[in-house]
């Protein structure tokens, strides 16, 4: 419990740091921030200009007061108005993308984690065998490709040339979102290709990490002991070796979420998948600064929450953490 509380404290500090960074960003813009932002954001009337300034926390108040205004607004989820989706508030624009990102990211992360770790377990169990000799090097080669380049190639080959997969959006344009089979089918169909690319891009890392941890674990005395006791191979493999080898993988899981999400942002852009990454990149291209700031905070928040969940799972798996 103390461990969980300590982690929670850390994530709160991290979130505060992200808000602070977000606050100072517009002040890094060359020249007068409001003028730069509005100048590039298109024509706005004085009332809107005032709204922009307020959203950025740019008023004539002293810096410290501006900061607290920004802080309270950010915690309430109030990031002002998005120019590129005028007059929709930033928060509601973000909400439209959040669920798609969580769906695509969640599915691909879980699948790559499970498949990668299984490959690692089998590889280390039969070291020098077929799985161990060919699969990891192949996956490392695939993993060296930037995920977005894999995405481009997959989109070109499987989407446009072979026409096996739909090439854009999260569901068929003709369908209206609702709880029916046609809609769910379409969502899954549109998710397949981007998640396939993401799984492929991250599989190698998991497999190799798991393999190397397993190689270390298998040298421990308790494995020899388990063999001497005559336990079944499956029991030794999963209950004795893999369970302990999972721990570094779970720790890495938290850290890599940030990386995975980074790859996903570009994949969303390539497949025009309407998640946070797609929104972020179009906000950058349309110079929609409030939307960028809001998205950065929301993505950070999502990563922090996911990390916290990983921490809770970790305490369930490792009794030493619970005791400490």
């Amino acid at each position: 419990m103390r461990y969980i509380l300590r982690r929670l404290g850390f994530y709160l500090i991290a979130f505060w740091a992200a808000i602070t960074l977000d606050f100072f960003l517009p002040r890094l813009l060359p020249g007068d921030p409001a003028a730069t932002i509005v100048g590039s954001g298109g024509q706005l009337d004085p009332q809107q200009l005032q709204a922009v300034k307020e959203a950025l926390g740019l008023s004539d108040q002293p810096l410290i007061l501006q900061y607290f205004t920004f802080l309270t607004h950010a915690i309430r989820g109030d990031f002002g108005i998005s120019y590129s989706n005028f007059p929709a508030p930033v928060f509601s624009v973000i909400l439209t993308g959040l669920w798609w990102t969580l769906l695509l990211g969640g599915c691909s992360v879980i699948f790559s984690f499970l498949i990668g770790n299984l490959i690692g377990i089998f590889g280390s169990w039969r070291r020098g065998g077929a799985v161990d000799s060919f699969v990891p090097p192949l996956l490392v080669l695939v993993g060296a490709f930037p995920p977005f380049f894999l995405g481009l190639c997959a989109l070109y080959l499987l989407g446009f040339q072979l026409r096996w997969f739909p090439t854009r959006h999260a569901y068929e344009d003709t369908l209206t979102p609702g709880f029916d089979l046609a809609f769910f089918g379409s969502v899954i169909q549109h998710m397949l290709l981007p998640s396939l690319v993401l799984v492929l891009a991250h599989l190698g890392g998991w497999a190799l990490g798991m393999r190397n941890t397993m190689v270390g674990i298998l040298a421990e005395d308790y494995i020899t002991m388990a063999e001497a006791k005559g336990l079944t191979q499956n029991r030794i493999m999963y209950r004795y070796a893999a369970r302990n080898a999972m721990l570094p993988s779970i720790t890495a899981f938290g850290i890599t979420l940030g990386f995975v999400l980074s790859g996903q942002l570009l994949i969303e852009q390539i497949f025009s998948y309407p998640g946070l990454g797609f929104l972020l990149i179009s906000a950058v291209q349309k110079l929609d600064y409030p939307l960028m700031q809001g998205l950065f905070l929301m993505i950070t928040l999502a990563v922090l929450v996911a990390n916290f969940i990983v921490d809770i799972i970790y305490t369930r798996l490792d009794p030493r953490v619970r005791a400490g």
């Binding site: 960003l25 060296a144 490709f145």
Partner: protein
Amino acid sequence: MDTHNNPAPIEQQTPSPETVDIAIPSPEGSTGLSSRQELPVEVEGTPAGQIVVTPATLPVPTRQRLIWLRTLLKNPKALVGIAIVSIFILVAVFAPVIAPGDPTEFVDSPNLPPSATHLFGTEGQGKDVFRQTVWGARTSLFIGFVTGLIITVVSTIIGMSAGYFRGRIDDVLTLLTNLFLVMPGLPLLIILSAFLAPGTGTIIGALAFTGWAFGARVKRAQTLSLREKDFVAGARVGGESSFKIIFSEIMPNMISIIMGSFISATTYAISASTALAFIGLGNVSEVNWGTNLYWSQNNGAILQGAWWTFVPSGLCVALVAFGLSFINYALDEVTNPRLRAEKELNNVLKGKNFRKTRTRATPVYRQPR
């Protein structure tokens, strides 16, 4: 434990249990050993209460330290990696010879497939893709290696200070490192590049800002374990300054880790800068692999079926990343005793009728004496 950064009373600083109860004279004492002396000296205490001072000859420790480097150069994985990366560096250096002419010049009609006149074809605006790919190596590799170097220096200083000084300094630096680790890198990179003045300098700065944390963490862990070693205690007893202990005692033993982190930082910088350029951040009129991909997508290469406009640049990034990570895997194989023992065992068992699937326990490697 925060007294370690200044020469504290010697009795507290003899760490190993078998050397208790030894009164070692202070550095300024009668033995006349001072830290200013150039010859490296090892001071040891024996259980009997004797002090053994051995002047070490210089070349011996150096050779032992760099043994991994020689093993690395014999490793086939490392050789493949080094070959791939060297080829790209040569291509970047000799770009004017390999692909003469301005890469931004409009040479022919747009979207021509690869042919004898245009090896990689032309892109959506009629520029030569081969020239763009070759010249693109220059900026991409430049950004990659410079950023890799900056990240390595920053993460070494932060990680080693945190690991060596411990206490308050460590708490602050570790918190900072963990904050940067948990923040999603690319989104931070994207908004930094979007808000700051565009340019190569900004990109390098933003990449370094977001990329140093992982290396710092690895180096902190290694420093923590090295600072407990006898030779560090010896240097401390000898009255060396913290600065000198960190850089001339601990750091030479971390060269392989520092090199590994330089390679991963460079890989990260090349991929991330390509990603940034691909979404149009940075200078889009510059020629590098990322901007090549950006223009390819902007000119609708996928819709037009012009695969030759995005495959070469993407493949180059992938090959460089692949070569670099191959060097790193080899480095891991050479320096990780367990992976190394594994390899030695495989060599011994090669060709013998031995069912290796029955030996699951990993062998342990011992240095031959």
